[in-house]
Protein backbone atom coordinates (compact mmCIF):
# COMPACT_ATOMS: atom_id res chain seq x y z
CA UNK A 1 0.00 0.00 0.00
CA UNK A 2 1.28 3.48 -0.85
CA UNK A 3 1.49 5.73 2.19
CA UNK A 4 2.18 9.42 2.74
CA UNK A 5 3.81 10.68 5.94
CA UNK A 6 2.30 14.16 6.19
CA UNK A 7 4.34 15.29 9.21
CA UNK A 8 7.89 14.03 9.50
CA UNK A 9 10.99 15.78 10.88
CA UNK A 10 13.68 14.18 8.74
CA UNK A 11 16.37 16.47 10.08
CA UNK A 12 16.15 14.62 13.40
CA UNK A 13 16.19 11.13 11.90
CA UNK A 14 18.66 8.78 10.25
CA UNK A 15 18.67 7.35 6.72
CA UNK A 16 17.56 4.04 8.23
CA UNK A 17 14.11 5.61 8.67
CA UNK A 18 13.96 6.41 4.99
CA UNK A 19 15.02 2.90 4.06
CA UNK A 20 12.44 1.27 6.32
CA UNK A 21 9.73 3.69 5.31
CA UNK A 22 10.42 2.97 1.66
CA UNK A 23 10.18 -0.77 2.38
CA UNK A 24 6.80 -0.22 4.07
CA UNK A 25 5.27 1.72 1.16
CA UNK A 26 5.94 5.34 2.09
CA UNK A 27 6.19 7.36 -1.12
CA UNK A 28 6.41 10.90 0.29
CA UNK A 29 7.19 12.73 3.53
CA UNK A 30 6.43 16.33 4.45
CA UNK A 31 8.73 18.12 6.84
CA UNK A 32 7.39 21.11 8.74
CA UNK A 33 9.91 23.46 10.33
CA UNK A 34 10.04 22.82 14.08
CA UNK A 35 11.85 23.46 17.34
CA UNK A 36 15.43 22.17 17.45
CA UNK A 37 15.33 21.29 21.15
CA UNK A 38 16.92 24.61 22.03
CA UNK A 39 16.08 28.22 21.21
CA UNK A 40 18.00 29.43 18.19
CA UNK A 41 19.55 32.88 18.55
CA UNK A 42 20.05 34.06 15.00
CA UNK A 43 17.76 34.47 11.99
CA UNK A 44 20.58 33.07 9.88
CA UNK A 45 20.29 29.77 11.74
CA UNK A 46 16.70 29.52 10.55
CA UNK A 47 17.68 30.44 7.03
CA UNK A 48 20.24 27.63 6.96
CA UNK A 49 17.65 25.31 8.44
CA UNK A 50 15.11 26.24 5.78
CA UNK A 51 17.77 25.64 3.12
CA UNK A 52 18.50 22.23 4.64
CA UNK A 53 14.86 21.09 4.54
CA UNK A 54 14.10 22.64 1.15
CA UNK A 55 17.32 21.74 -0.70
CA UNK A 56 19.29 18.99 1.05
CA UNK A 57 16.63 16.71 2.54
CA UNK A 58 14.90 16.08 -0.81
CA UNK A 59 18.18 14.61 -2.08
CA UNK A 60 18.57 12.36 0.99
CA UNK A 61 14.99 11.06 0.64
CA UNK A 62 15.38 10.57 -3.10
CA UNK A 63 18.09 7.98 -2.50
CA UNK A 64 15.32 5.75 -1.19
CA UNK A 65 12.74 6.69 -3.79
CA UNK A 66 10.82 8.91 -1.38
CA UNK A 67 9.60 12.38 -2.29
CA UNK A 68 10.42 15.04 0.32
CA UNK A 69 8.47 18.26 0.78
CA UNK A 70 8.78 20.94 3.46
CA UNK A 71 7.06 23.81 5.25
CA UNK A 72 8.71 26.90 6.72
CA UNK A 73 7.90 28.83 9.90
CA UNK A 74 9.18 29.98 13.26
CA UNK A 75 7.78 27.46 15.70
CA UNK A 76 5.71 28.72 18.66
CA UNK A 77 8.38 27.98 21.27
CA UNK A 78 10.74 30.49 19.67
CA UNK A 79 8.03 33.11 19.05
CA UNK A 80 8.91 34.73 22.38
CA UNK A 81 11.93 36.17 20.60
CA UNK A 82 9.92 38.74 18.66
CA UNK A 83 12.90 40.36 16.95
CA UNK A 84 14.10 37.02 15.61
CA UNK A 85 10.57 36.09 14.54
CA UNK A 86 10.14 39.29 12.55
CA UNK A 87 13.47 38.85 10.82
CA UNK A 88 12.77 35.22 9.88
CA UNK A 89 9.30 36.16 8.64
CA UNK A 90 10.92 38.75 6.38
CA UNK A 91 12.95 35.97 4.70
CA UNK A 92 10.17 33.40 4.48
CA UNK A 93 8.66 34.41 1.11
CA UNK A 94 11.87 33.47 -0.70
CA UNK A 95 11.58 29.93 0.70
CA UNK A 96 7.89 29.71 -0.18
CA UNK A 97 9.10 29.90 -3.80
CA UNK A 98 11.22 26.73 -3.43
CA UNK A 99 9.98 23.87 -5.64
CA UNK A 100 9.29 21.53 -2.70
CA UNK A 101 7.95 24.01 -0.14
CA UNK A 102 4.24 23.46 0.46
CA UNK A 103 3.41 26.36 2.76
CA UNK A 104 3.74 27.98 6.17
CA UNK A 105 4.17 25.67 9.15
CA UNK A 106 4.31 24.58 11.72
CA UNK A 107 3.22 27.81 13.31
CA UNK A 108 0.73 27.72 16.18
CA UNK A 109 0.70 27.88 19.94
CA UNK A 110 2.67 26.26 22.75
CA UNK A 111 1.82 28.17 25.92
CA UNK A 112 -0.65 30.49 24.20
CA UNK A 113 1.18 33.69 25.17
CA UNK A 114 0.50 37.01 23.45
CA UNK A 115 3.81 36.79 21.58
CA UNK A 116 2.86 33.34 20.28
CA UNK A 117 -0.55 34.64 19.20
CA UNK A 118 1.06 37.61 17.44
CA UNK A 119 3.46 35.26 15.66
CA UNK A 120 0.64 32.92 14.63
CA UNK A 121 -1.31 35.84 13.17
CA UNK A 122 1.75 37.11 11.30
CA UNK A 123 2.41 33.64 9.85
CA UNK A 124 -1.19 33.19 8.73
CA UNK A 125 -1.19 36.66 7.18
CA UNK A 126 1.92 35.85 5.15
CA UNK A 127 0.41 32.55 4.07
CA UNK A 128 -2.84 34.13 2.94
CA UNK A 129 -0.99 36.95 1.18
CA UNK A 130 1.08 34.42 -0.80
CA UNK A 131 -1.83 31.99 -1.28
CA UNK A 132 -0.11 29.26 0.75
CA UNK A 133 -1.29 26.33 2.82
CA UNK A 134 -0.94 26.63 6.61
CA UNK A 135 0.00 23.96 9.14
CA UNK A 136 -0.86 24.87 12.73
CA UNK A 137 0.62 23.16 15.77
CA UNK A 138 -1.59 22.87 18.85
CA UNK A 139 -0.14 22.53 22.36
CA UNK A 140 0.65 19.30 24.15
CA UNK A 141 -1.07 17.62 27.09
CA UNK A 142 -2.85 19.89 29.58
CA UNK A 143 -2.50 23.02 27.41
CA UNK A 144 -4.13 21.40 24.38
CA UNK A 145 -7.82 22.23 24.86
CA UNK A 146 -7.18 25.86 25.78
CA UNK A 147 -4.56 26.31 23.07
CA UNK A 148 -6.73 24.81 20.36
CA UNK A 149 -9.64 27.04 21.39
CA UNK A 150 -7.33 30.04 21.18
CA UNK A 151 -6.08 29.01 17.73
CA UNK A 152 -9.67 28.80 16.52
CA UNK A 153 -10.47 32.22 18.02
CA UNK A 154 -7.42 33.78 16.36
CA UNK A 155 -8.37 32.30 12.98
CA UNK A 156 -12.01 33.34 13.38
CA UNK A 157 -10.82 36.93 13.59
CA UNK A 158 -8.87 36.71 10.34
CA UNK A 159 -9.75 36.52 6.68
CA UNK A 160 -8.74 32.90 5.99
CA UNK A 161 -9.78 30.06 3.74
CA UNK A 162 -10.40 27.05 6.07
CA UNK A 163 -9.82 24.65 3.16
CA UNK A 164 -6.16 25.65 3.19
CA UNK A 165 -5.58 25.29 6.93
CA UNK A 166 -4.59 22.09 8.71
CA UNK A 167 -4.79 22.17 12.48
CA UNK A 168 -2.55 19.46 13.84
CA UNK A 169 -2.22 17.22 16.89
CA UNK A 170 -5.96 16.99 17.54
CA UNK A 171 -7.23 14.47 20.05
CA UNK A 172 -10.67 13.44 21.27
CA UNK A 173 -11.22 16.67 23.24
CA UNK A 174 -10.36 19.02 20.35
CA UNK A 175 -11.23 17.34 17.05
CA UNK A 176 -14.89 18.28 16.95
CA UNK A 177 -14.31 22.02 17.26
CA UNK A 178 -11.65 21.93 14.53
CA UNK A 179 -13.81 20.00 12.06
CA UNK A 180 -16.93 22.03 12.90
CA UNK A 181 -15.03 25.20 12.00
CA UNK A 182 -14.27 23.73 8.56
CA UNK A 183 -10.52 23.15 8.92
CA UNK A 184 -8.52 20.02 8.16
CA UNK A 185 -7.54 18.11 11.32
CA UNK A 186 -4.39 16.04 11.83
CA UNK A 187 -3.78 13.34 14.40
CA UNK A 188 -0.18 12.77 15.47
CA UNK A 189 0.60 9.34 16.82
CA UNK A 190 3.18 9.19 19.59
CA UNK A 191 4.28 6.26 21.71
CA UNK A 192 3.29 8.08 24.92
CA UNK A 193 2.32 11.72 24.82
CA UNK A 194 -0.29 12.24 22.11
CA UNK A 195 -2.80 10.16 20.22
CA UNK A 196 -2.15 6.43 19.81
CA UNK A 197 -2.64 4.24 16.72
CA UNK A 198 -5.71 2.53 18.19
CA UNK A 199 -7.28 5.81 19.29
CA UNK A 200 -6.63 7.26 15.85
CA UNK A 201 -8.73 4.49 14.31
CA UNK A 202 -11.47 5.10 16.89
CA UNK A 203 -11.50 8.73 15.75
CA UNK A 204 -11.55 7.70 12.09
CA UNK A 205 -14.54 5.46 12.80
CA UNK A 206 -16.38 8.13 14.78
CA UNK A 207 -16.01 11.16 12.53
CA UNK A 208 -16.30 11.83 8.84
CA UNK A 209 -12.86 11.13 7.40
CA UNK A 210 -13.16 13.73 4.67
CA UNK A 211 -10.84 16.25 6.34
CA UNK A 212 -8.72 14.01 8.52
CA UNK A 213 -4.97 13.42 8.24
CA UNK A 214 -2.95 10.87 10.18
CA UNK A 215 0.72 11.51 11.02
CA UNK A 216 3.28 9.43 12.74
CA UNK A 217 5.71 10.99 15.18
CA UNK A 218 9.24 11.54 13.98
CA UNK A 219 11.45 13.99 15.81
CA UNK A 220 14.45 14.00 18.14
CA UNK A 221 12.43 12.92 21.19
CA UNK A 222 10.68 9.65 22.02
CA UNK A 223 8.79 9.15 18.79
CA UNK A 224 8.15 6.49 16.17
CA UNK A 225 7.57 7.02 12.45
CA UNK A 226 5.96 3.60 12.22
CA UNK A 227 3.01 4.51 14.42
CA UNK A 228 1.43 5.45 11.08
CA UNK A 229 1.78 1.90 9.81
CA UNK A 230 0.46 0.66 13.18
CA UNK A 231 -2.62 2.78 12.61
CA UNK A 232 -3.05 1.31 9.12
CA UNK A 233 -2.76 -2.25 10.43
CA UNK A 234 -5.30 -1.49 13.16
CA UNK A 235 -7.63 0.13 10.62
CA UNK A 236 -7.47 -2.91 8.35
CA UNK A 237 -7.78 -5.32 11.30
CA UNK A 238 -11.15 -3.78 12.06
CA UNK A 239 -12.41 -4.79 8.65
CA UNK A 240 -12.00 -1.58 6.66
CA UNK A 241 -11.15 -2.11 3.02
CA UNK A 242 -7.85 -1.42 1.34
CA UNK A 243 -9.44 1.40 -0.66
CA UNK A 244 -10.76 2.98 2.55
CA UNK A 245 -7.24 2.83 3.95
CA UNK A 246 -5.79 4.35 0.79
CA UNK A 247 -8.34 7.17 1.02
CA UNK A 248 -7.15 8.10 4.50
CA UNK A 249 -3.43 7.37 4.49
CA UNK A 250 -2.65 8.38 0.91
CA UNK A 251 -5.48 10.23 -0.79
CA UNK A 252 -6.45 12.64 1.98
CA UNK A 253 -2.91 14.07 2.16
CA UNK A 254 -2.98 14.32 -1.64
CA UNK A 255 -6.25 16.22 -1.53
CA UNK A 256 -5.10 18.71 1.09
CA UNK A 257 -1.53 19.15 -0.09
CA UNK A 258 -2.58 19.05 -3.75
CA UNK A 259 -4.09 22.50 -3.27
CA UNK A 260 -0.50 23.57 -3.77
CA UNK A 261 0.37 22.82 -7.42
CA UNK A 262 3.89 21.77 -6.38
CA UNK A 263 2.34 18.60 -4.91
CA UNK A 264 1.84 16.36 -7.94
CA UNK A 265 1.07 13.02 -6.29
CA UNK A 266 -2.49 12.13 -7.21
CA UNK A 267 -5.15 10.16 -5.29
CA UNK A 268 -5.19 6.45 -6.09
CA UNK A 269 -8.11 4.16 -6.86
CA UNK A 270 -7.49 0.43 -6.53
CA UNK A 271 -8.96 -1.50 -9.43
CA UNK A 272 -9.23 -5.26 -9.65
CA UNK A 273 -8.90 -6.86 -13.09
Amino acid sequence: MQIIQPHYHAIARTAQDYERMAMSGVVAVCEPAFWAGFDRRYPETFIDYFAQISEFEPTRAAEFGIRHYCWVAVNPKEAENTELTQEVLRHMPEFLEKPTCLGVGETGLHKSTQNEIDSLQAHVEIAMKHDQLVLIHTPHLSDKAHGTKTVLEVLAGMDVNPDKIWIDHVEEQTIESVLDAGYWAGMTLYPVTKCSPRRSVDILEKYSTERLLVNSSADWGPSDPFTLQESIVEFRRRGHSLQEAVEIYHNNPCRFLGQNPKWDIKPITIREE
Binding site: T193, R198, D202, K206
Partner: protein
Protein backbone atom coordinates in the same frame (compact mmCIF):
# COMPACT_ATOMS: atom_id res chain seq x y z
CA UNK B 1 14.57 2.88 44.17
CA UNK B 2 13.42 6.28 42.96
CA UNK B 3 12.20 8.89 45.44
CA UNK B 4 8.39 9.35 45.65
CA UNK B 5 8.18 12.51 43.55
CA UNK B 6 10.59 11.15 40.98
CA UNK B 7 8.54 7.95 40.79
CA UNK B 8 5.40 9.88 39.89
CA UNK B 9 7.19 12.21 37.51
CA UNK B 10 8.91 9.34 35.72
CA UNK B 11 5.89 7.15 35.12
CA UNK B 12 2.94 9.56 35.04
CA UNK B 13 2.76 10.03 31.27
CA UNK B 14 3.00 6.34 30.53
CA UNK B 15 0.24 5.60 33.05
CA UNK B 16 -1.84 8.41 31.55
CA UNK B 17 -1.40 6.82 28.11
CA UNK B 18 -2.42 3.40 29.42
CA UNK B 19 -5.54 4.75 31.11
CA UNK B 20 -6.50 6.56 27.90
CA UNK B 21 -6.21 3.25 26.05
CA UNK B 22 -8.60 1.66 28.56
CA UNK B 23 -11.02 4.58 28.21
CA UNK B 24 -10.80 4.25 24.42
CA UNK B 25 -11.56 0.53 24.62
CA UNK B 26 -14.67 1.18 26.73
CA UNK B 27 -15.82 3.89 24.28
CA UNK B 28 -15.13 1.53 21.37
CA UNK B 29 -17.28 -1.14 22.98
CA UNK B 30 -20.14 1.30 23.64
CA UNK B 31 -20.07 2.55 20.05
CA UNK B 32 -20.10 -1.00 18.75
CA UNK B 33 -23.07 -1.88 20.98
CA UNK B 34 -24.89 1.20 19.73
CA UNK B 35 -24.16 0.37 16.09
CA UNK B 36 -25.00 -3.33 16.36
CA UNK B 37 -27.98 -2.74 18.62
CA UNK B 38 -26.92 -5.43 21.06
CA UNK B 39 -24.39 -6.09 23.80
CA UNK B 40 -21.74 -8.82 23.75
CA UNK B 41 -23.13 -12.24 24.64
CA UNK B 42 -20.58 -12.46 27.42
CA UNK B 43 -19.67 -9.21 29.15
CA UNK B 44 -17.52 -10.82 31.82
CA UNK B 45 -14.32 -9.28 30.41
CA UNK B 46 -15.89 -5.82 30.44
CA UNK B 47 -17.09 -6.28 33.99
CA UNK B 48 -13.68 -7.58 35.00
CA UNK B 49 -12.02 -4.40 33.72
CA UNK B 50 -14.54 -2.18 35.49
CA UNK B 51 -14.07 -4.09 38.74
CA UNK B 52 -10.30 -3.83 38.36
CA UNK B 53 -10.50 -0.06 38.12
CA UNK B 54 -12.72 0.03 41.13
CA UNK B 55 -10.14 -2.02 42.98
CA UNK B 56 -7.40 0.43 41.99
CA UNK B 57 -9.27 3.53 43.00
CA UNK B 58 -10.67 2.24 46.27
CA UNK B 59 -9.23 2.41 49.77
CA UNK B 60 -5.73 2.04 51.14
CA UNK B 61 -3.29 -0.57 49.96
CA UNK B 62 -0.84 -0.88 52.85
CA UNK B 63 0.94 -3.84 51.28
CA UNK B 64 1.49 -2.00 47.98
CA UNK B 65 0.26 -5.11 46.19
CA UNK B 66 -2.29 -3.75 43.73
CA UNK B 67 -0.62 -5.62 40.88
CA UNK B 68 -0.89 -8.93 42.71
CA UNK B 69 -4.52 -8.19 43.53
CA UNK B 70 -5.27 -7.41 39.90
CA UNK B 71 -3.56 -10.56 38.67
CA UNK B 72 -5.64 -12.62 41.07
CA UNK B 73 -8.73 -10.71 39.98
CA UNK B 74 -8.05 -11.25 36.26
CA UNK B 75 -7.38 -14.94 36.89
CA UNK B 76 -11.11 -15.34 37.52
CA UNK B 77 -11.86 -14.46 33.89
CA UNK B 78 -10.91 -16.80 31.11
Amino acid sequence: MLEPQKTLDTYYLEARRDLLEVAALLDRYDRSVEKQGQKAEDESRLNSLLEAMSLLSGGDHPKANRTEQLLNHFAKVS
